[in-house]
């Protein structure tokens, strides 16, 4: 009886010390997981997710307050990568519906004021003062930063038109 009490007490005390040491010396600064998720994000800090930049979104995803699907420019690929890293199940079908959008300049409205090109996080807008501006399709992430700034409402977000090489056979229904 005495031996059992003694050995358990001793064990408890010993483990307590080990835990205490671990807490002291092995404590991690910040959350490496957040950094890891942040490295997967596009990094343009466009704000489409509703968070202050990509790092904020990464923190929210790790904390569970945002879905892995919250980044529109990242799309399904990013959502799948993030969910895979965190071991979460995600419903990717929601992302398919409205599809990605990109900005376009209505050339007859643009007055070449240069306001839009200054705020684009990916430098997707090209143009010079008093010249018609244009959006490079490949570089635009559809963040809409530029849209409200345009004094003539020349900038509008438009869905990316489907093209032959990018078409995906639909998933069979039912079964």
């Amino acid at each position: 009886m005495i031996a059992a009490v003694l050995s358990l007490t001793l064990l408890g005390a010993l483990l307590g010390v080990v835990l205490g040491c671990a807490d002291r010396f092995l404590r991690v600064e910040g959350n490496p997981l957040v950094d890891e998720i942040g490295a997967l994000m596009p990094g343009s800090n466009c704000g489409q997710c509703g968070f202050p930049g990509c790092a904020g979104a990464a923190a929210a995803i790790v904390a569970g307050s945002a879905a892995p699907t919250c980044c529109p420019p990242g799309g399904k690929a990013l959502a799948a990568a993030v969910a895979g890293r965190l071991g979460l199940a995600v419903d990717l079908s929601a992302l398919a519906d409205d599809g990605p959008q990109i900005a376009g300049v209505a050339e007859e409205l643009c007055i070449g004021c240069c306001r839009c090109s200054k705020v684009c996080p990916t430098d997707a807008i090209v143009g010079a003062a008093k010249q018609i501006h244009n959006v490079l399709r490949e570089a635009c992430t559809g963040c809409a930063n530029c849209v409200d700034l345009c004094p003539t409402e020349a900038l509008l977000l438009q869905p990316v038109p489907p093209t032959l090489p990018h078409w995906v056979m639909p998933k069979p229904l039912g079964a």
Binding site: L40, M41, P42, G43, S44, N45, P73, G74, G75, K76, A77, L78, A80, A81, G84, L92, S93, C120, P121, T122, D123, A124, E138, A139, T141, P162, T163, L164, H166, W167, V168, M169, P170, K171, P172, G174, A175
Partner: protein, 502 residues
Amino acid sequence: MGILTTFKDWFGNDWGVHPDDRKRPAADAAVRVMPVPERLWLPLQQHLGAPARPVVLVGQRVKKGQLLAEAQGAVSAPVHAPTSGTVAAIAEITAPHPSGLTLPAIVVDADGADEWGERVGCADPFALAPDEIGRRVAAAGVVGLGGAAFPSSVKLAGAARAGVATLIVNGSECEPYLSCDDRLMRDAAAAIVDGIRIMRHASGAARVLVGIEDNKPEALAAMAAAAASCAEIRVCRVPARYPMGSEKQLIQALSGIEVPADSRPADVGVIVHNVGTALAVRAAIRDGQPLISRLLTVNGGCVVAPGNIEVRLGTLAADVLAFAGGLHGDGLGLARRLLGGPMMGMQIPHWRVPVVKGTSGILALAADEAAAGDADPCIRCASCVRACPVGLLPLEMSARIRNDALDAAAALGLADCIACGCCAYVCPSRIPLVQYFQHAKGELAARERARLRTDATRKLAAQRQERLAREASEKAAAAARRKAERAAQQSAAEKLVQGEPA
């Protein structure tokens, strides 16, 4: 799965299916040549690789065989005018593709003269250097006519570089309903053998094996007779079994060489060309004729007069069907419109779709020929596993894709699926297995593109930050320089002021 894998070992040699081939009577009817229609639509992309770039202007007069659009990039093919006439427009037309999307095409209005432009032929192709043959084949826009439409010159050049030993000529034509290759071999065996010899010269292969399925005895006899005088060409009978015409299956059946999953035939010293391609190569080299027409099969229960028809590229499928006698009851019983064969062909939304280089057939199937009905749950009968020529587990892959576990499906070898359709053909529950696999492959490719795009976005954002920082520091440096200059000027002026009274 363990059980299934064992199952696979037992039945490993039993791949493929034996569908009712339904090639006759279309295969036995004499070839008809369709007159040039009034208007032709020539898509800029009729091949694998980059689309061609137009080099003609709207309103320009073109001769038959004149270059309309040039190849762009290493893997691409030019497009030529199939007849003489006027370029009416460069416009969008429904693509020969299941999506029903459009693609840009050059529209040529025929003038009826059908007058050739300049042609540079060659009486002795064997005196030409192999790479010169490759160059001429590329300039003639020849692509694989079996359906994949891969630029032939790229394959020939790759073969010469890799030093392949064997050229395999695919005359198996394993798809049901299609008989255009059969017809070519019966009618033009000598020309095909000539084309094969030119391709052998260009690729540097030592021996040639021609594989023909045993359901085409007339073609076998004709080809064997034509090749009798060429010791290096052997015509081989292969069992009729779908998909015998798939590259890797045909290579194994003819030469016993198994092509590993992640390599190409050239890696094991083999290239495969179609018999129709051999004929097109001959025309390109001997007569200097670009690829402007092809033989295709019009077939199916709804077609009034099925058969093989020689058609100019760019002819609308609707016109071809009208020439073939139209559809029974004006298409009332039509269940499926297909380009290509029923196993791997693509369903099209309507008949206003142009014939392109890879169009081997136009099928109008009646309801009793088209598998229909709703899918039932999988009963795990493993018929699909036995049928798969690649050795995959279709039931396991489709179950994962249904639950959107695409990575799990990819881990089961999804990328090796050749979309042959054997699994769906044998499935008693009528599960659209191939559609699952095509969907998953497209989706995975889209995700890969999105991933690359995210990487590019990250780089662009970083470059912008760098640019902003550089601009800020340059501005600061310029301001500092101006300040220093001003200070220097000021002190000089002060000195001057101070020095004046002295």
